[in-house]
Structures are given as structure tokens and as C-alpha cells.
């Protein structure tokens, strides 16, 4: 990897030669590693104010009997959607990055609950933060890993020297069919990351790796309000296989072991899955505890693993190594290796902490929830 400016480098035909030492592209490597070192210059989270306890869902559908997969989930207010929530997370990321928004060259929003079927969320967000018009903008979709996909694309854009800053967001207002198991967990929230040069970053990104197969564990057809899921819903062949494969391959390629990481964050559709996958990989519960938010806010889908990362950054120390692994049904996992820098200490408190949003909590009952989520037809 060279630090030379892109303009000073020779233009290559695009194919690396296996035997040569001076290859421009690391195409033999499974790692997704940018040409220029990049990192997170600013980050921001958002969680809506309202909470629906799982026992309230159980009261309606099971007479309060049986176990529940978490404590409570976050519910957006009537005037919130993925655009408004992304705007707030993006403003928090900009507060921490302390850069002018017109230096951003791309705004990318990953979600499975974009407000419009046709019309980008990213343009609304870019306009609201003052980043238009000299930008690229797009919406990303890949179930719960749309947010980390946008991050990988941002790493590529900045790491290729095409842009100094790119804003990537993962945000959702997930819906579960009334009475379905998903109704206990499908929640609202997410995070925004401003990706930029490593030397300006509060956490550098060493590399990432993606593991993807065609696995029909969960889907929603066009025009349908609620998702469907397969019988073997997010079990062994889906959640566990993809996350462990992504994490193991990344760690093997980087020659790291779980003990090298101060913190690890995994996609969190419920409390048990991320705890179990951490144990399978050899992580201790102390390593995953700060990033495990699902019990308090629910599964925020495209925002799930990355809002866990914001919570880790809220308390991490310079030098801490962090493993982040997302999971998206359909299916795939993106794994990232990050290293916290000393810039974290001066930037952390420039915006609201993830914990500030989690503590801002108003409990609602199922009837209010049904109104807020527009489950009543008039």
C-alpha cells in the first residue's frame, strides 16, 4: 500500500500479475482493503423515544405466557421515518467530524424501510445536512447488512482517492406482522459514519471481508407490508454460518485471534444469537457487552450491528482493536477490523452518546404502538 496521491501513480491496465511483486491491486487477497488508508472521521447514532416492552406484545398475543426474546424495542414517533432518523444520525456524525458538509462527495443510506419505493432517501438526507449538490447519492439494500455495505462502498470511494469524505448510514424502522415472532424485536434506529482519510480518523479501518451466499431465510416481496421467513429462520445455515465464516476468514487473513480485540460487535436480531456466535468464535462476554444493545432497543435491522459499534466507540480507549460483523438475510456478512485512535477522546463528546438516546425512554402500550406504526385502518 502506498501513500502517494492518486495523481502521481502510474495508470495500470487493471489486472494484477500473480508473480509480480509490484501489483497495484491485491486481487489475490480475500480482504477488501483500500489503496489509501481510511477510517471513521465521525460517527452518530439515533434511537427514537418510544419503547414497547416485549411483555406487552406477549400480553396481546400469548396471554403473557412464554418467553420473550428481549426486554423492549424502540418505536418511531408518527413523524419519523428512515429519512428523518438518518438526518439526525448524520448531524451527529458531522458534529464529531467537524468538517464542512459540502466536502462530502457521497451520501449513502442502507435500509429496508426507505420511505419511498421510488425516490432516494439519500437525497433528502444530503439536502438536510447541507451536502448538496456536488455529491453522489444512493440507497442501499441488503436486509440487515445494507448499512455495512454502504460503509464498504465508502471505504472504496475514499480509499481509491476519489473522495475525501463519504457519509454512509444504516437505518431502519422495521415492521413485524402482528402476532409474528418478529413483532417482539422489529425496531427503529441506526447509525451514520463519515468515512475519510486514516490520519483524520478516530478509528482506522484495517480491512473488511464479505461472505455471501443465496440463502432464502427471510424476504419481503414488493408491495407487501410485512416480511416472511423460512422455517429454519436465521438458524445455523443463515446467521451462524455467515457470521462465523466472515469473522474467521477476516481474522485468518489478518493473523489475529479473538484475544487481540478489545471489543466485538455482531448483528443482533435478539439477545441470544450474538451471545452464542461470540462464544462459537471464542470471544468472552466482556468483549461483546458494550456493543450489545438489542435487549434495550430491539433489532434495528440495517442499523443493528453498527449502532452497537457507536456504543463501543462511546467508551473505547485509543489503541483498542474492534471487530464488527453484520448479517443480512438473503444472505451475507460483512466483517471489519478497526483500530481506535487517540482522536476518539476529543470527538466523543461533541455529539449525543448512544446511551443518551437509549436513556430517553417513554414506554407505550400496544394500542399506542398500533397507532404509531399505522396498523389501524380507518
Amino acid at each position: 500500500m502506498s501513500d502517494a496521491h492518486p495523481a502521481t501513480r502510474p495508470i495500470s491496465g487493471g489486472r494484477s500479475v500473480k508473480s509480480g511483486r509490484s501489483t497495484l491491486f491485491e486481487s489475490e487477497s480475500l480482504l477488501l482493503r483500500p489503496h489509501f488508508p481510511v477510517g471513521i472521521v465521525g460517527y452518530g447514532a439515533y434511537v427514537p423515544r418510544y419503547r414497547l416492552p416485549a411483555r406487552e406484545v406477549a400480553r396481546i398475543w400469548t396471554g403473557g405466557k412464554g418467553g420473550v426474546p428481549l426486554g423492549e424495542k424502540s418505536v418511531p414517533g408518527l413523524d419519523e421515518d428512515v429519512a428523518t432518523m438518518s438526518i439526525e444520525a448524520a448531524r451527529n456524525a458531522l458534529l464529531r467530524a467537524r468538517i464542512a458538509p459540502d466536502l462530502i462527495r457521497a451520501v449513502w443510506v442502507g435500509s429496508e424501510s426507505h420511505p419511498y419505493a421510488v425516490k432516494p432517501t439519500s437525497t433528502i438526507v444530503a439536502e438536510a445536512i447541507g451536502a448538496v449538490p456536488n455529491i453522489q447519492a444512493a440507497d442501499w439494500e441488503f436486509a440487515c447488512k445494507a448499512g455495512t455495505e454502504a460503509m464498504q462502498a465508502a471505504i472504496g470511494f475514499v480509499g481509491a482517492g476519489m473522495a475525501r469524505y463519504v457519509l454512509s448510514i444504516g437505518m431502519d424502522t422495521a415492521q413485524g406482522r402482528p402476532g409474528d415472532a418478529l413483532e417482539y424485536t422489529a425496531a427503529a434506529g441506526g447509525a451514520a459514519f463519515l468515512i475519510g482519510p486514516a490520519d483524520e480518523s478516530l478509528a482506522t479501518i484495517t480491512a473488511s471481508y464479505s461472505f455471501v451466499t443465496d440463502t432464502p431465510d427471510f424476504w419481503r416481496r414488493e408491495g407487501e407490508m410485512y416480511p416472511s421467513h423460512g422455517d429454519r429462520f436465521t438458524g445455523e445455515p443463515a446467521y451462524f454460518r455467515h457470521i462465523t465464516s466472515a469473522a474467521k476468514t477476516l481474522m485468518e487473513a489478518l493473523e489475529t485471534v479473538p484475544a487481540d480485540y478489545a471489543w466485538a460487535v455482531f448483528h443482533q436480531p435478539n439477545v441470544k444469537f450474538p451471545q452464542r456466535v461470540a462464544r462459537m468464535l471464542g470471544f468472552r462476554s466482556e468483549q461483546t457487552e458494550p456493543g450489545l444493545l438489542v435487549g434495550e432497543i430491539g433489532n434495528v435491522y440495517a442499523g443493528s450491528s453498527i449502532i452497537g459499534l457507536t456504543s463501543v466507540l462511546d467508551m473505547a480507549q485509543p489503541g483498542d482493536r474492534v471487530l464488527l460483523v453484520s448479517y443480512g438475510s438473503g444472505a451475507g456478512s460483512d466483517a471489519f477490523d478497526l483500530l481506535v485512535t487517540d482522536k476518539i477522546e476529543e470527538r466523543r463528546d461533541l455529539a449525543l452518546l448512544t446511551r443518551d438516546y437509549i436513556s430517553r425512554r417513554t414506554e407505550i402500550d400496544y394500542a399506542t404502538y398500533a397507532r404509531f406504526r399505522r396498523k389501524l385502518r380507518m
Binding site: 428523518t84 438526518i87 420511505p115 419511498y116 449525543l352 443518551d356 436513556s359
Partner: protein, 134 residues
């Protein structure tokens, strides 16, 4: 036409962009190109911090067309810390009662939706200042 009117208002609606008077320095919202204090031209754009306090408020039970699904809701006169007073809906009150002097901050939210097929109109509202709430 309605669509283009929304588009021109977006800077002030999405992120409180107003003006500052070149002559006397007064901050102006909404932008009107003439300073209300000294009547000189004011065209320098100024983005407001979004922080302010509730000056007065009232609760709307019979909402006008397009806003029915949000009723009841609270509309307030908010005095921005830079001086101007503007009318806006309060949001995220939860179980908090609004009160005069309550510190609030600007958020960008859905203002209304033009039916199932129309556009979604976004703009500023104010919520209880979060730093003070936690």
C-alpha cells in the same frame, strides 16, 4: 405550483437557513431579503443553531387537512437563541407537558403526507432539548 414551492423552501425548512443583516448584524428568519430592524438589504445566508425556548404554545385537537393523523399536537412560538421567533410543532414530548421557557432544539421531521400517493413533506419541528432531558 405546489411541488416547486416545497422545493424552494427546502433550505429554510430542512435546516433553518435564514439571513444575517450585513449592516446591523440582526439574524433573520424566515429569510425576507430586507432587514426588519434597519430596512437595509440582507442577503448573507445564516444557518441557525436550532436551539431555543418555548415562548408560548397551544394544543391542536381539530387538525387541518393533511395533519389529522398527528392530532392532538402542540404548536409553539419558539424563540431561537439568535433572536427570531417562529411557529413550529413540538414533537417527541412523550409524557412531558410543554411549558413556557422549556429549552427545545430543532429536528427535521415529517410535516405531512399528501395522501397515500403524494409526496412526503419534511421540515423543522422542535423537541425538548435532549442534553437537558438526560
Amino acid at each position: 405550483m405546489e411541488l416547486s414551492r416545497h422545493w424552494r423552501l427546502q433550505d429554510q425548512r430542512y435546516r433553518l437557513v435564514g439571513e444575517v443583516c450585513d449592516t446591523c448584524g440582526v439574524k433573520i428568519f424566515p429569510p425576507r431579503d430586507i432587514c426588519p430592524e434597519c430596512s437595509k438589504p440582507a442577503q448573507e445566508l445564516y444557518t441557525f443553531s436550532g436551539r431555543g425556548e418555548v415562548y408560548s404554545f397551544s394544543t391542536v385537537y381539530n387538525a387541518p387537512a393533511g395533519y389529522e393523523e398527528y392530532a392532538p399536537y402542540t404548536v409553539a412560538l419558539v424563540k431561537l437563541e439568535e433572536g427570531p421567533v417562529l411557529t413550529a410543532q413540538l414533537t417527541d414530548l412523550g409524557d412531558q407537558e410543554p411549558e413556557i421557557g422549556m429549552p427545545v432544539e430543532m429536528v427535521t421531521r415529517k410535516l405531512r403526507t399528501e395522501g397515500d400517493q403524494g409526496m412526503i413533506v419534511y421540515g423543522y419541528k422542535f423537541r425538548p432539548a435532549l442534553a437537558a432531558a438526560v
